[in-house]
Symmetry: C2
Subunit: 152 residues, 2 copies
DNA sequence: CTTGAAAAGAACTGCCT
DNA sequence: AGGCAGTTCTTTTCAAG
């Protein structure tokens, strides 16, 4: 754990929205000099609060217009290990996220497909075909909003 | 839609893993010069395939050790509009993601909290207290794996 | 914390194959 | 398309107040 002041929180919020901006530009917005801002970013990175930068890809522009969230239950638990099942799901290209969860389901998947027909193919041929796959629940994404979340 | 060749796909895959690396370093790995790599990245950005860079924050290091996925159904549909409900959920600091979905639930939320006791507070005081909130399903995150997804 | 500066590197531009 | 060479900007590290 690390102590964050208000400026640190503003920096994290700004970088969570756009990590492309320079330390100088960010500092100007916060009334801080370039070196001071840069030192804070480095401190946050060294402390592990900032894990790294990633580009956000636009699935629609890549031809994947359908995103579906799947809740998956393992059938016949014990016959297939969680690890094997997780690995098998991660190997499906259309699967963007594999979340191992505790609750109503065993796994939550974020799956993208070109369209609903394509999704049906992925669901039937790839996911339901996995040894151990049990009950499945689907929710089709209509819109999404991401927020930085609480910062200390 | 845009035509991607194999090199574009490799670039996207690399940047999805780490957007911090320079065009020069990336090009060296792919056997491309710095300007050629940079021009491709710019082309992908202009085409909207690359939407921007974001830092990945480590919620645990910020003191939020619990992540829960919630499926939420709207009760008494029509009395409260989807827009109002969505706005109200987005205003809760602990809510990282609001997904409007079609299926078993109306919304899917990603919620972080300091611990399970803190999560109970958020769930009862903030989310269930929303006018219009109906049935709720919860799944606690154990582990998560993200992959780039299909690239054309 | 600040300003100022210097060196290294990355981003960007124009020209040529 | 790609490469080369050059310019501009940012990053990164100093020193000094």
């Amino acid at each position: 754990m690390i102590e964050l002041d208000d400026i640190d929180r503003q920096i994290l919020r700004a970088l969570a929205r756009d990590a492309g901006q320079s330390a100088g530009a960010l500092g100007r917005d916060l009334g801080l000099s370039q070196p001071a801002t840069w030192r804070r970013i480095r401190r946050l990175t060294d402390a592990g609060v900032i894990r790294g930068k990633r580009v956000r890809l636009n699935a629609e522009r890549l031809g994947f217009g359908v995103t579906v969230f799947l809740g998956v239950k393992l059938a016949r638990k014990g016959q297939v290990t969680l690890e094997d099942f997780e690995r098998a799901m991660s190997a499906i290209p259309e699967v963007q996220t594999v979340e191992h969860v505790l609750g109503v389901y065993d796994f939550r998947l974020r799956v993208v497909a070109r369209d609903l027909a394509d999704f049906e193919r992925v669901l039937r041929r790839r996911i339901m075909a996995l040894p151990g796959a049990g009950e499945v629940e689907a929710n089709v994404l209509l819109s999404e909003e991401r927020r930085p979340g609480p910062l200390g």
